[in-house]
Structure formats: structure tokens, C-alpha cells
């Protein structure tokens, strides 16, 4: 049984067909990529799977259990973590707080603890701090823990966002253009980090990327989406040489 399975998912915005007959299968420990031109519906697919939109048709199963119709916070709790194309960070909060937010559902103390600071709360908050530092460390941003998020350079903000997504302890991690807007050095570090997370934790990852170099380097299998439909799926080599992909996405001159 695959970890995450999407079957015949179709979605309309009003009369507009955003995603049509989309299928996906991710096995434990697999990295898959999703590429496609702007407006092809890549982010919509992420939003559909993570419960932000409800698909018009089709089924999404996580470990065999259908997650269609659950709210985003429930889907997140079931084990789908994600990052955003434009990061969605909280101004005025520290790096540490960002990651601690992801541990929210693991904190069990009640109202009494929240107002008066019981022993249980202190213990749980200390545990939460420790976990948060662990994830910040994993992405090399622990020294910045007490900084306000907006004092960080762009690349570091991206890493905090990744740490935040990882801190929810997802079964599958969805990354929406993790290297968008990065300079070559930041990009190289990010690719290395994604690979490291994948290899060390055996985490399944589903990745949207614009930069083909990144997808080709990281992914075992790639889907190409054009106007809401998958036109090709396969290994990086297959995608690179698929005439439909070359035509629709790469342009005829890219591949020699």
C-alpha cells in the first residue's frame, strides 16, 4: 500500500477546470516532483490534497484512509506537512516561536496552566522548546532562534519555514517551490538540506519546482502538469526526453 494515493481527482473553480483526472502515488521514503508552467494548477493540487480546497471529484487516501472533506488542521494532524510558495511567516514572532507553533497540538495543558503556569505547563513547554531547537538545528538556523523572523535573510527564512513544517512531524512533506527566489549559494544549500532530511529520516517528499535542475537532481519520479492535466510522468531521464514535455514546458531548444 502506498503512503499517499490520489485517484481521479478533478476540481473546478466555478466553470473553470483547474485540475482534471489527477492521479498520484507516493510510497514511503519517495521523493516525487511536480513541474509545469505557471498557472498549470500545481499549487491548486497542493491545496486540494492538504484540505484547503475540497476536490469536486476523486479520492485522496493517506495510509489507506480517505482524507477528503477533512479540514486543513485535521489533515495536518494526520501527517501532511507543507511549505508555501511565498512562505507565510508571522511577522513579530521569533524563529523559535514559529517552530513551537508547529508543536501546538502536542501541548496538552489546559486553561489553568495557560493563565497561572502549572508544573505540567512548564514541563510541556520545556519539552516543546527542546524539540523546536532540535528541528532548528536540523536546518542550521538554531543560532537564530531568538531573532525576529523578519531580521533573517531570505534563505534562512525559507529554512525556518521548512523547520516549521518538519516540526509537525509529517508523514509526507509537501514543498511548494522551496528554492524560489534563492541565489545559487542558498539554492545549493537548500537542495543539500532536502536531500539530507530525506535520507536521514526516510521522509516522503512531494515537491513543486520551477527550476528543473533542482527537480532533476532530487526526484526519483516527476510529473508534468499542463493546464490541470498530467501529460507525462516518469524518471528525470524520461521526462527530459519526452517530446510532449519538451514541447509544452522546456521549449524545443533546451534539450540538445
Amino acid at each position: 500500500m502506498s503512503l499517499l494515493q490520489v485517484e481521479k481527482m478533478t476540481h473546478y473553480f466555478g466553470g473553470l477546470k483547474a485540475v482534471y483526472n489527477y492521479n498520484l502515488q507516493i510510497d514511503p521514503g519517495q521523493i516525487k516532483g511536480l513541474i509545469g508552467p505557471n498557472g498549470a494548477g500545481k499549487s491548486t493540487i497542493f491545496n486540494l490534497i492538504t484540505g484547503i480546497y475540497k476536490p469536486t471529484e476523486g479520492d485522496i487516501r493517506l495510509e489507506g484512509k480517505s482524507i477528503v472533506g477533512y479540514k486543513p488542521h485535521q489533515v495536518a494532524a494526520m501527517g501532511l506537512g507543507r511549505t508555501f510558495q511565498n512562505m507565510q511567516l508571522w511577522r513579530h514572532m521569533t524563529v523559535l516561536e514559529h517552530v513551537k507553533m508547529a508543536r501546538y497540538s502536542k501541548l496538552r495543558y489546559g486553561l489553568c496552566g495557560a493563565f497561572f503556569g502549572t508544573a505540567k505547563r512548564r514541563r510541556e513547554e520545556a519539552e516543546s522548546d527542546e524539540k523546536a531547537h532540535y528541528f532548528l538545528n536540523m536546518f542550521g538556523v538554531d543560532p537564530l532562534a531568538d531573532q525576529n523572523i523578519f531580521n533573517l535573510p531570505y534563505g534562512a527564512q525559507r529554512r525556518v519555514e521548512m523547520a516549521r513544517a518538519m516540526a509537525t512531524e509529517p508523514k509526507v512533506l509537501f514543498l511548494d517551490e522551496p528554492t524560489a527566489g534563492m541565489n545559487p549559494e542558498e539554492l545549493g544549500r537548500m537542495v543539500a538540506t532536502i536531500r539530507q532530511v530525506h535520507e536521514e529520516l526516510g521522509l516522503a517528499i512531494f515537491l513543486i519546482e520551477h527550476r528543473l535542475r533542482v527537480v532533476m537532481e532530487l526526484c526519483e519520479s516527476i510529473q508534468t502538469l499542463v493546464f490541470g492535466e498530467i501529460i507525462a510522468e516518469g524518471t528525470p531521464e524520461e521526462i527530459r526526453s519526452n517530446p510532449k514535455v519538451i514541447d509544452a514546458y522546456l521549449g524545443k531548444d533546451v534539450v540538445e
Binding site: 492538504t50 484540505g51 484547503i52 479540514k71 486543513p72 488542521h73 495536518a76 494532524a77 506537512g81 507543507r82 508555501f84 507565510q88 511567516l89 508571522w90 511577522r91 513579530h92 514572532m93 516561536e97 513551537k100 507553533m101 508547529a102 501546538y104 497540538s105 501541548l107 495543558y109 496552566g113 495557560a114 493563565f115 503556569g117 505547563r121 513547554e125 516549521r164 513544517a165 509537525t168
Partner: protein, 307 residues
């Protein structure tokens, strides 16, 4: 000088009410981007619930069913009323605002005004137009400090208000829910992806705001023991001004602005005829807002905040 200090004390008391009510406005606004215009009437409901609870407890004590000292009646009244009023607040959120999460903000504002009218007239239907007098739960003792008269009630009102504000500040700053509330104030989209239910946080914010309004209502009832169904309107509007003046989403700002409003009103009334009080006081506030349109602690924010 004595006169000045006397007015300081009065202003502190008067400002406490504004500050407590402004907090409810400010918290709801910061997370849901809507002004709960029914909040002044929640304050009224809180005062009436406090009236009901305390009258009931006094009656029980008088008939000898239970024997409670007055201070305990006061404490129980505050706790029960906070609880019951928070239920009212949660109900308002559930029925009035949740269905309108995605609706234009104007619809939500109008809903608030309507809920306010329903609460006022509902009270009228339930208890009639007769004003009720809030029971005097503690004996008034007046202390004379070098010509400045301070009553124990005034001290209590200011101390209780400040204690509650400090507790709330700790809650917002350090607890997990406080963290979620702050996060929601700046970006909505990603909060659920941390496994946090937006509805839970919204409900909780309404509950806390309403509980604070209930405290304000009871304290107000102790200082000015005549309640009527429309008492919340003007107070609500003024507290709303305080919330704006404090700056969006700022607990500290709402408190300070509440007290500032109290000070301005009391000191304007000290110098000018009291009929001109609000005219002058609110002209001053308009002037302040002209120079600080985002309030004391608010920041210009982009239009990316939705809902």
C-alpha cells in the same frame, strides 16, 4: 494638587472600564479582522448576569440556604458571570459571525449591530424597562489621604482590572493559545497547517473578550449601581475608540488607550462644563488619530490579511 490627585483616582477607575472592554474589541479584531459591534452589549449582558448571580447568592444567604460572606459572594459573582458571559460570547461567534467568515466585512459589521440590538431588546423583553440596581456587595469605606478621598471600591476596581490585564498579557505572550492568537493576527492561511483549528481560536477569543466585558460590567455595577439595557451602547463605542487608538492587535495598546480615554474624559470634565466633555475629549482623540492613524502600537499593514 489635591484636586488633581482626586481626579487621577477617578480617571483610573473610569479608564479601567474602557480598557477591559477595549481588550475584547482589540483581540477579536486582530484575529478575525472584524469589529464585534455587539461587544458593548456583551458588557451590558455581563453586568446583568452579574446582577442576577449576586442577587441570587444574596437571596440564598438571606434565606439561610447557604451562608456566604460578602467578599465570597463577590468573588463567586465575578467567576460565574465571567463563565456565563463567555458562553454568550461564544454563542454570538457561532451564530452571528462564523457563517460570515468569508462574507464582506460590512456584512459582519452590520451583523454586530443587529446582535447588539437583539441583546438590548431581548433584555428589555425579559426584564422590562425598569432599571435595576446592582446590589452593594461590599461596604464602602472611604480613606482620606491628605485630602484625597479614596474608597475601597475604587482601589478594588483598579486592582482587579490591572490584575486581569496582566494575566491576559501573560496568556497572550506565553501560552500556546496566545501564540496561536498572535500568529492568526498576522497570517491566517498557515495556522491550520500546524494542526490548529481556526474555529477553536476564534471561539476562545470571543470567550475571553466576553469574560473581560463581564468583569467590567460587574465592576461598573459596583461603582454606578444602576443598570439599564442600553448602558452598553455608549461604553461600547468609546471602548471601540480605545481599541483603535491602541493599535490593531495590541493588548498593551488597548489597555493604555482605555486608560487614556478615562483620563481625557475626567480631566476635560474637570476644566470644562461636563456637557462639553465628550465633544472636547473625542476631538482630542480625533486629533491624535490624525497624526497616528494606526494608533499607538499599531503598524501600517498591507492588505494581505484576509477574513
Amino acid at each position: 494638587m489635591v484636586f488633581f490627585f482626586q481626579n487621577m483616582i477617578n480617571a483610573l477607575q473610569w479608564g479601567s472600564f474602557y480598557a477591559l472592554i477595549a481588550l475584547g474589541y482589540s483581540m477579536v479584531y486582530s484575529i478575525l479582522m472584524l469589529f464585534n459591534f455587539a461587544h458593548g452589549d456583551i458588557f451590558m449582558v455581563g453586568a446583568y448576569i452579574g446582577f442576577g448571580v449576586s442577587t441570587g447568592l444574596i437571596a440564598l444567604t438571606a434565606t439561610g440556604v447557604i451562608a456566604l460572606p460578602n467578599w465570597l459572594i463577590l468573588v463567586l459573582t465575578i467567576l460565574f458571570s465571567m463563565f456565563l458571559t463567555s458562553l454568550v460570547g461564544m454563542l454570538v461567534e457561532r451564530i452571528g459571525y462564523r457563517p460570515l467568515r468569508e462574507a464582506p466585512r460590512a456584512s459582519a459589521a452590520i451583523t454586530g449591530l443587529m446582535i447588539g440590538i437583539i441583546l438590548e431588546t431581548g433584555n428589555l423583553a425579559l426584564l422590562g424597562a425598569r432599571r435595576v440596581s446592582f446590589p452593594s456587595l461590599i461596604e464602602t469605606t472611604t480613606y482620606n489621604l491628605g485630602g484625597v478621598y479614596i474608597t475601597n471600591k475604587k482601589i478594588m476596581i483598579v486592582v482587579v482590572s490591572l490584575a486581569i490585564m496582566l494575566a491576559l498579557d501573560q496568556f497572550i505572550r506565553r501560552s500556546k493559545w496566545g501564540m496561536a492568537i498572535r500568529a492568526m493576527a498576522f497570517d491566517y492561511l498557515v495556522v491550520p497547517l500546524m494542526g490548529i483549528s481556526i474555529n477553536t481560536i476564534a471561539r476562545m477569543t470571543f470567550a475571553i473578550g466576553s469574560a473581560l466585558a463581564a468583569v467590567a460590567g460587574i465592576l461598573f455595577g459596583m461603582a454606578y449601581p444602576v443598570l439599564d439595557p442600553y448602558m452598553g451602547i455608549l461604553f461600547g463605542w468609546k471602548a471601540f475608540v480605545a481599541a483603535i487608538l491602541g493599535g490593531r492587535g495590541s493588548i498593551m495598546g488597548a489597555c493604555l488607550a482605555g486608560f487614556l480615554l478615562g483620563f481625557i474624559e475626567i480631566f476635560v470634565a474637570m476644566i470644562f462644563p461636563s456637557t462639553l466633555r465628550d465633544l472636547i475629549a473625542y476631538s482630542i482623540i480625533m486629533l491624535i488619530l490624525t497624526f497616528r492613524p494606526h494608533g499607538f502600537f499599531g503598524e501600517p499593514y498591507s492588505a494581505q490579511l484576509r477574513l
